[in-house]
Subunit: 354 residues, 3 copies
């Protein structure tokens, strides 16, 4: 679709520096865009590309606007403004009213309730008791085993599995291969092995949630696993039974949340970060990647774990020194004693406090 | 199903404190249960909820029984007893004899052998040479490519893939999206790239094994990958070629076991723990989560790795100090020399011993 | 297939020590092989098995050849030579010309272009605009949503998903459950939540690439995500939007590469290693497993992160000492001052340099 910069500035509340009649019809990168493209500058890393951009326009903040060699849309939040413009320019061509469509080979239980305008792809399976809200699209090979409910305008890409008792809000987008509602990992140790603990709860997903490819969200053991409105989950995330995730929290790939842990609202969780079970994390906590969260957190802020890699030769020495750390601390204590300085910390107690 | 506490006490060998005629028909949490529900207390974290529970009965140990405000079933292993009661109360209503059933759209090779009472879901694919034991249930969209054997009463949820040469014991439960029998990761470096090493072994799974959603277990390179009886595997676990896992070992999500490593019996492996290849881990070893196992272990016990996250400001200082650790140890050595104390450890040797 | 050692030595350029008329028809392990089998010795760990092998022949290097109790094929790269011999002996019996074959239940858009000799398995879905190169095999339950292109002789095992705009080179092998072309994880923070950034790029895979089971490779945000020729990717790897992976790089399970990071050629990445976004890694870098890569690297070599596990009792003390590391360094500084030794490093500055 073609838009003029004047129209875009008006629609998204930006200041326009340049010709309002310039037309754009697609997006591009600062370095790669050509005429007709609009691009954006949102992180300083790419600032050097600005001077050379061949795009027709750039979305950026006021501080960078003066340096733009082409027309500029000035926004206090250039990335969000870019996202909205890209959505507008690249909207799928859904001309005409949305019509329901059941593909060949889809297997739909006669008792399932299919809303207006629902589309179901080839080889999808919709089991008994399922209710699909209007405008929902079910991709090829998806399986909704039984008693699954979706709100309006949900989209399941290919090969998504929703087991019984999974309920989605409105506008939930789930990528290929995700599995919601598999049994939580619950076993009780017994004399001769493990006794399976029945997993009887469901999974409830709020509105406007996005769930990445091959992510897994387990059903609750007794009550439900809960994902709040606006939560965004990347690929290959694992969420255990009875986890609660607060509204608008985001988590990157390989995040793992063990059973019954509660994550607050607006948290940001870097990739590969893992949480042990039964924790409470308050609202507005950020975790950098590769962190291990072993205690509850009741203060908003940024938390980190994970030591960055080093050249292997150095790392081997550091790892060996790490293994000697208790000894080293003892040596420092002995020196302090010998030279008449008192130890700064109560050694034994602290070392055992965990 | 409805049971009286007297019946449950008798069946599961518990001491009953309270009225044997009280009836329960479902389970609940300590905090959430209401009349008619039976609940349990198994970890001290939830002890505070006991006094306020509105359940009709609680399963707990002798030490807590006196504090129960409602009828109590006293068990030396409350969690296992709860698991058995929950299984009893919430058993699926399989009234009548189990009957075989092939869903529409299932594609079954004429040469496959299908046991009595086998159920096959919509769009499942059962290839040539497959043998399905009696009472086995194959969910929607599952693919058994060829020469797959299952024992009796196995259950594959939706979209499970078993490649050729995968053999399951009896009562194996596999959750959606799991892939057993993909090629192991084997390549030989050569002048101009990598030569694929043919992966010719299979995968053998024992009896009573459970395998989580989107977990992958690779076929062996020459001989088979082996998973022992009673092993329980969570979601998104990766098990490499020719790994051997001993009976009744359990592993949580994101555990990764590299090729040819052998894990003993009754091991417990926390989430995100990784094993390098070609290790031998003895029986009865527990690993806390996020550990990296780089050496064989021949002593039972608990092993740990992984440093818990801290506030980012503190963590940055710690990470910087970690990077100086070799220097710091050298400084301590210099001080010891200067003040006439001998170094406690043979520095150079130890630092290089890895 | 049966081959004599003389034929194999000639074909693969090995020195033969032993009878050229000995015949082999399958491979085995050093410890497990019997008559008729050829085996190999490639890592010293298995050296002790050599003396007792019952195989008919062993592939090994010159240094070990004298110790072989059976016929030996001497190679400067025994593992690669073994790989080629195993491929030869265990080649699938594809006698006769390869013929195209469309399985029952496959759904193929009329506008898709299907090359000569293409095989499509049961319940596969080939959407509009797809182009399949000659000899390509699409396994059961695979979904190619739209506008997917494959080169010649690709193989997709079961239940692989290729979303629109995914292009494969020739001879690409993708294992079950992999998802290529799901949306990258892109959201712009806004007043009241997160705005989805449209993911408009595709995924381009080079020739001779292998991709493991349940691995995910996201489409680019604007431009494409790129995987170079000869790259080998293990199971459950996650590759973010606009990542570029250079030719012949290999990566083990659970590797995660965040958006826009560029990995060089011939890199080797151990399992569970994670990369933050927007990095540049040069050619010929090796990473040991469980490393966190937080900075760009411009020097070839080996890099490490990750501390190996220890017995839990020791680890608890080490973790506590780690938490005191800044304090400990301060104490060492105080001692140095007290005894008249200068601090070796500019403490405060260094500690803050990150």
């Amino acid at each position: 679709m073609v838009w003029t910069l004047g129209q875009l500035a008006l629609r998204f509340g930006c200041e326009l520096r340049g010709d309002p009649d310039v037309r754009v019809d697609h997006v591009g990168t600062l370095a790669g865009a050509g005429p007709g493209a609009i691009t954006f500058l949102a992180i300083t890393l790419y600032r050097p590309h600005l001077a050379k951009t061949r795009a027709s326009a750039v979305v950026l903040d006021a501080a960078s606007a003066a340096d733009s060699p082409v027309a500029a849309l000035v926004s206090s939040n250039p990335y969000a403004t870019y996202a909205r413009i890209a959505t507008l320019l690249h909207a799928p061509d859904d001309s005409g009213p949305q019509v329901g469509r059941i593909a060949p080979g889809a297997v739909i239980d006669p008792a399932a309730q299919i809303g207006a305008g629902v589309q179901i792809g080839p080889h999808a399976v919709i089991g008994p008791g399922c209710v699909l809200g209007e405008g929902t699209r079910i991709g090829p090979g998806c399986v909704l085993t039984a008693n699954v409910r979706t709100g309006a305008n949900c989209e399941l890409r290919a090969r998504v599995t929703l087991e019984s008792g999974v309920h989605l809000g409105d506008r939930v987008l789930i990528h290929a291969g995700a599995v919601l509602g598999a049994d939580g990992f619950g076993f009780a140790r017994d004399r001769d092995g493990w006794v399976k603990v029945p997993q009887l709860g469901g999974v409830r997903i709020g509105n406007d949630v996005e769930i990445g490819a091959n992510t897994t969200i387990d059903r609750g053991a007794i009550e439900d696993t809960l994902i709040g409105d606006g939560v965004k989950i990347d690929n290959q995330v694992q969420i255990g039974h009875n986890v609660v995730v607060g509204e608008h929290t985001v988590m990157a790939a390989f995040v793992g949340i063990s059973g019954s842990t509660r994550i607050g609202r607006r948290c940001m969780i870097g990739g590969s970060t893992g949480f042990v079970g039964h924790l409470e994390i308050c609202d507005d906590v950020a975790f950098t990647g590769d962190s291990m969260i072993a205690r509850s957190i009741d203060k908003p802020g940024i938390y980190s774990g994970g030591l960055p890699a080093e050249p292997a030769r150095l790392w081997r020495r550091l790892a060996a020194r790490f293994r000697q750390l208790d000894t080293l601390a003892g040596r420092v204590g002995s020196i302090e004693k010998a030279v008449g300085l008192k130890g700064a910390a109560p050694e034994t107690q602290e070392a055992d406090h965990d």
